[in-house]
């Protein structure tokens, strides 16, 4: 087969009927555009999920008290005895722990001058900020020393800072939570939306001792209680293994008898995000599949027009054979025509697909990601469609009997 001749003959044929060529391409254009747009959107969603997971700390384990059971009565989650400072200290010695947080929380209304704001108050240890990789944009975090003194200091989230201290510097100002005056020593970095939709910046954080002793109050049975622990796991450990080891260790230190149920739960929040996003991923796959179907329908359109074209040009094919075209030359010419149609359609479609994805991002607020990989996939799909659906008409042209073809009216 003579490649250059096949391509130049194909171009001549396509230019001979520009409108038809364009209409034939339309199906491929729409197909490639929708495949591109769908891939860009589902890729964008996947990247967003990854970002959420890494914002949560991809290698963090959360520990909460489980449900308690007394006299056959099952209480709700978190009703089991809380953890204690002591337990946190013991867990800190485990080899896989790089940082460990102790946290109590509760809703409070904070007051500054004549302004007030209902928000979430956390009492934490120093390790909390490490497990969240959270720092301050202004001021500083509280210290271990301030924790042991139950110091009346607070670091505030950006939302709280913006609400209570709009336009002024919050550092050194006083706010009151449950009538306890607290001095603002730091403003936290912006974290944005949590994966569950909450505003992570709508928060005030005080030393855990301050929260226990002065604001939220102590647990009725466990004085130095901790209601939630988060552990950052060192690199190189397998999360599932660490989770098992941690559970064993917790049974030990919480003195749970063999055979008795755990009174705590260990979970990996990243898993929740992944599970939630798997629905999104399924949607993305379904959409991409629908788009691929439209690409195939476009391919059938190309095949249809190519078959018409072969019938219309039967005499021309006969003539080409009479002047010395081999079967392979004819096959190549029609195959080149189909591939060229799909390739040009694919290129235009790619541009349209990028446009559609940008539109989805700007108007619909979808996160998108357009990589060269997506364009390459969509284009090679178009070429494959041309090859696949062009072969049958091209073969029909190549198999024509030259005498009958020359006599064709």
């Amino acid at each position: 087969m003579k490649l250059k001749l096949a391509i130049s003959s194909a171009i001549e044929a396509l230019l001979a009927n520009v409108l038809r060529s364009f209409l034939t391409m339309l199906g491929i254009m729409i197909g490639v555009a929708s495949v591109m747009a769908m891939m860009a959107i589902s890729e964008g969603a996947a990247i967003q999920v990854d970002q959420q997971i890494s914002a949560l700390g991809a290698s963090n384990l959360t520990v909460r008290p489980g449900a308690s059971r007394r006299g056959g009565r099952h209480s709700g989650a978190n009703s089991a005895p809380p953890f204690t400072d002591k337990q946190v200290q013991i867990l800190q010695q485990e080899p896989y722990v790089t940082a460990i947080s102790a946290r109590n929380s509760g809703g409070v209304t904070v007051v500054s001058g004549s302004d007030n704001w209902a928000t979430q108050l956390y009492g934490t240890n120093v390790g909390y900020f490490e497990t969240q990789s959270w720092g301050v944009t202004a001021g500083e975090l509280f210290t271990q020393r301030q924790i042991s003194q139950s110091a009346a200091v607070v670091v505030i989230g950006k939302t709280v800072a913006d609400t209570l201290f709009e336009g002024t510097n919050p550092l050194g100002q006083m706010i009151r939570a449950k009538n306890v005056p607290l001095r603002v020593i730091g403003v936290l970095e912006e974290k944005g939306q949590s994966s569950f939709g909450g505003d992570r910046d709508d928060i005030v954080i005080v030393p855990i001792t301050t929260a226990r002793n002065r604001i939220l109050g102590a647990h009725k049975t466990t004085p130095k209680h901790v209601s939630s622990i988060e552990i950052s796991v060192a690199d190189g450990y397998i999360m599932a293994d660490v989770q098992n080891q941690l559970e064993d260790r917790l049974r030990e230190i919480r003195r749970i008898k063999p055979g008795a149920a755990d009174n705590f739960r260990v979970f990996n929040i990243a898993d929740f995000v992944r599970a939630r996003s798997s629905t999104q991923a399924t949607m993305g796959v379904l959409l991409a599949f629908t788009a691929a179907v439209s690409l195939i329908v476009g391919g059938v359109g190309v095949m249809n027009i190519m078959l018409v074209s072969v019938t219309e040009r039967t005499r021309e094919i006969g003539l080409r054979m009479a002047v010395g075209a081999r079967k392979g030359d004819i096959l190549g010419q029609f195959l080149a025509e189909a591939i060229l149609l799909c390739l040009i359609g694919g290129l235009i479609g790619s541009a349209l697909g990028v446009g559609a994805a940008e539109l989805a991002a700007n108007v619909g607020g979808f996160p998108i990601s357009i990589s060269p990989m997506i364009a390459a996939t969509a284009l090679s799909a178009a070429i494959f469609i041309g090859l696949f659906f062009g072969y049958f008409p091209a073969r029909r042209a190549a198999q024509l009997n030259p005498i009958e073809a020359l006599r064709h009216e």
């Binding site: 003579k2 001549e12 006969g318 003539l319 080409r320 009479a322 002047v323 010395g324 081999r326 005498i403």
Partner: protein, 236 residues
């Protein structure tokens, strides 16, 4: 170069060639054991009523079709031994076709039409444009190279077709009713052109049913019912 019928290896040799078509349940014997030779440079007219087998023989010589039985030799090669690609190459290099309906590509210029066989050649010329232009001037159309078929008269279109047949330096030109779509004055011009080519050594074989056209040929073969009934050479 007047042909000498008694000497030299024939350019085309048909040995007991038959061709049978099956039309439904009926067998049609288009050729019924034809043996005939064609000598290089001789111009031959094949005549006979329609369905007598003359076009079938042309198609066989043109390597567009294969005989049901018998052998066909062109330049000493038995066509039965050639594959589809070799037959295509033979049509490209050795044979030029001229058709009653011209069969030009309507969207292409005269020059592009003449270039067509050169583009399919396995030993492409360095400058196919020059060769195509040369062939167009040989048929007297050097001033019409950029015209499309629709802008040319019937006679001019047939000359483009002849130029196309000449492009690959063929030794044989097969013309099937070349004047069938032309008026008598234009027919004469086309026939003069073919006679000229024959004088240059090209073997011209034409199928016609017009006596005046056949008169240009040095030899006339008459077909009836798939066999040759007469084979006359002009004596000078």
């Amino acid at each position: 170069m007047p042909a000498n019928p008694t000497s030299a290896e024939p350019l085309i040799k048909c040995v007991d060639v038959t061709k049978t078509y099956i039309m439904g349940e009926q067998q049609v014997h288009a050729l019924n054991g034809v043996s005939v030779d064609f000598i290089a440079g001789e111009m031959t007219a094949i005549m006979g009523p329609s369905g007598s087998g003359k076009s079938t023989l042309m198609n066989l010589i043109g390597a567009l079709d294969v005989p049901t039985s018998g052998d066909l030799f062109i330049e000493g090669r038995n066509l039965a031994n050639l594959g589809a690609d070799e037959l295509a190459d033979l049509r490209n290099k050795t044979i030029g076709f001229v058709f009653q309906q011209f069969n030009l590509l309507n969207r292409a210029t005269a020059l592009t039409n003449v270039k067509l066989p050169l583009r399919y050649s396995r030993n492409p010329l360095a400058d196919i444009d020059a060769r195509a232009a040369e062939c167009l001037s040989m048929v007297g159309l050097s001033d019409r190279m950029d015209h499309r078929p629709m802008q040319l008269s019937g006679g001019q279109q047939q000359r483009v077709a002849i130029a196309r047949a000449l492009a690959g330096h063929p030794s044989i030109i097969l013309a099937d009713e070349p004047t069938g779509a032309l008026d008598s004055r234009t027919s004469n011009e086309i026939m003069e052109l073919l006679v000229n080519l024959s004088k240059q050594g090209i073997t011209v074989i034409l199928v016609t049913h017009e006596e005046e056209v056949a008169e240009y040929a040095a030899r006339k073969i008459y077909f009836r019912d798939g066999v040759i009934v007469a084979d006359d050479r002009k004596t000078k």
